[in-house]
Amino acid sequence: MYNYTEFDHAFLAERNAQFRAQVERRIAGQLTEDEFKPLRLMNGLYLQLHAYMLRVAIPYGTLNSAQMRQLAVLAEKWDKGYGHFTTRQNIQYNWPKLRDVPDMLDALAEVGLHAIQTSGNTIRNVTADHFAGAAADEVADPRPYAELIRQWSTDHPEFQFLGRKFKIAITGAAADRAVIRAHDIGLRIVEQDGARGFEVLVGGGLGRTPMIGKVVRDFLPEVDLLPYLEAIVSTYNLLGRRDNKYKARIKITVHENGIEKVRALTEEAFVQRRAQFSGVDQTLLRDIQEQFAPPPWRASSQDAFDSLYESDPVFRSWADTNLAAHRAEGYAIVSISLKAHGKTPGDATAEQMRVMADLAERYGHNELRISHEQNVILPHVHKSDLPALHAALKEAGLATANIGLISDIIACPGMDYCALATARSIPIAQEIATRFNALKLEHDIGPLKIKISGCINACGHHHVGHIGILGLDRAGVENYQITLGGDGTEDAAIGERAGPGFSADEIIPAIERVVLAYLDLRHSNAETFLQTYRRIGLAPFKSALYPETAVAAE
């Protein structure tokens, strides 16, 4: 893991002192809210529906145990005992008091964390595959590149006031676990003729105009990463629209100008930018890469794992859903579900954070990840430790065996917290999870991603949910639209809208009808919901969703 240098620590200390003074001036009435708002947003502080919200960056989703414990301290000392992990691999605190925020930022800085660029029209927290450095299918660990991008983009003077926020995601594997096709820039590490580089995508994004990113470069040599990114962002900074915030994202720039024009301007800018990079970025990259060296793997018997797997159906069920293949012999990647049935997706109590930190220290080489799916990952656990790990997770209410299943729902905070939301998301997620747990169908249904957003901004990624749910305000009543067939992986697709929305009372039965239709329509248990959908299309599901219309049409 990357360890902050003295420069990093000094930078955070200075930045926090600056913000402390700004808060004091605001409270003393020396700054108006109009003057203060951009300053607080630059430090991750929002004002939401019921209180302030502090969004803390977890760069590329990677944490060590000390950092996770400090997140628990913040939750207990300045919030209500919990934190909310988000689809951007951040954590949000929903109840801080304005006066306390400088102290919270100082506490974060003690462990090398901050809230810089978690808001505002700038390059946001760079996200990455949550299995980075561990996945069996990986070409290379994307995190050193993400860290390089973080350092390059933090306080970059040219990119502090872009037309809109700007999101970069990176993966080192062919299987896309970072949703790179729905980001402003998506990067995938590839190898060509023995050389390492990147496939570069641009112009993806969700929100009110969802778009899948387009390839702007098939192969960008590793050495050219920063100048090429700089060329893309500077092209967007010049070409992107500023007359209408809804048309200001780079996806619109690409859509309106065409990928060829954006590519040509980028390549032109790249030639100039490239000349300004002296190679110090590559020296820095080598230093960063050294800090991401894999931990020493150990060779141990996995008899204890095999034996418990055979004898304990609860452990087997958890192992089948929550473990992923690791690159090292005898190891597994563990996903800890923050989606216990009926609980708020992505929330963890301070106590649970401490348990996860302890377990990472004891069994996981002191490393944790936050996934964009709002779960926590222990990336390196030897299989011989899994029985003890599972027992400890069970005790902490963290052993729900549902990763990738119907109750592993992404849900934005929705109108329960968010000032922008038009309907609630969390209760819908809670009810779906509770309902399908009661039906005992979850494991029979198999892989199925439901994603819920409480407004058109799509923080819950509903467009790329196999089943997407969008909450809206229809004449003063919460209403939920369903989209089907979305996919956030390497086969990315935007879901199709199924038809008229449903009231809060109707949405759970509607989802149940779609899922039961799938169970009827699939060829076999091996055919997933998405495969069935792609084979037969929207119509049969539409009939299930709107039976009255289907009967009338017959």
């Binding site: 409270i27 004002l47 109840w95 708020t344 329960d416 917290y417 003063g476």
Partner: protein
């Protein structure tokens, strides 16, 4: 034809706490909607909003919210204002927590 003016209250967020607050008839700020001054005249409502906006060291984001007159005072007419009045639905936090501690 212009739409008829419907009853409103002045609401905002408390600067220090971020908590939802309402303007009362005696120029105080209350955390309870039932204490709010109900404004039935549009011109008067605009004046009261201006009065609120002149207190930037006390509050953030003042606006007029629709209400209906209920037996115990003003009640929200939109679900968003109802959530602001109570708190989130996944935990008993926010105003509902404060009330349970009374």
């Amino acid at each position: 034809m212009p739409r008829a003016f419907t009853p409103k209250v002045v609401t905002a967020s408390d600067l220090l706490e971020g908590d939802v607050i309402y303007l009362t008839a005696d120029d105080q700020w209350s955390r309870h909607l039932q204490d709010a001054e109900v404004l039935t005249d549009e011109a008067h409502a605009q004046l009261r909003l201006l009065h609120a906006e002149r207190q930037p060291d006390r509050l953030v984001g003042a606006y007029l919210a629709d209400v209906a007159q209920g037996p115990e005072g003003p009640e929200p007419t939109h679900f968003r204002e109802d959530f602001r009045r109570t708190g989130p639905s996944n935990y008993a936090h926010g105003k509902q927590e404060a009330e349970s501690n009374v």
